[in-house]
Subunit: 105 residues, 2 copies
């Protein structure tokens, strides 16, 4: 296993990408426990910074994300998850959380 460089809060950003379409779906944060659960169960877990608790993505909505591949970048401080999503990634119902351009509104 590659040793992860956790940030000052013990977290690492994790990018979620649709393994099939290549769409970038969302970015959230993992602590060591979220990464362990993701690795062991094959479904994505994060650490919710607002709620300060583990967050099993899709546990309530049903839109879980099945993990195909866990990649890490050259300096080991960012994770890229390639997943098969069971439904939209975004709480708004959009497929991806990145549905707006910066100059919208």
């Amino acid at each position: 296993m590659i040793e992860i460089r956790w940030n000052e809060n013990g977290l690492v950003p994790a990018i979620v990408q649709d393994a099939r379409s290549g769409a970038v779906l969302m970015l959230a944060y993992m602590n060591a426990e979220a990464l362990r659960l993701t690795w062991e169960t094959g479904e994505v877990y994060f650490w919710s910074r607002s709620r300060k608790e583990l967050w099993h993505k899709g546990a309530t909505s049903g839109n879980v994300q099945r993990v195909r591949e866990v990649l890490i970048d050259c300096d080991a401080d960012t994770i890229l998850l390639k997943v098969d999503p069971a439904g939209p990634a975004c709480h708004t119902g959009e497929t991806s959380c990145f549905y707006r351009t910066l100059n919208d509104e």
Copy 2:
């Protein structure tokens, strides 16, 4: 313009994706000045957290990243840049910084 939610250090993570291939190339951080320069010049700038200075991606290597689209996520705390890269994103020479799986080594 959508108002960005900068983190406690005045930064926002920016995911860089190849506009053509869909490959996720890298993740780095922007401050307001890096975002302004990216927006105005059409080439990607970051804030280097290690060197504590603005970083024009590719300025020395020639591997600049031309911006096609600047997207922002639903809670406005992550940026997704779709780019045309002039060469490899990674300092190792790999196309993407995400060239390893977590269980490598």
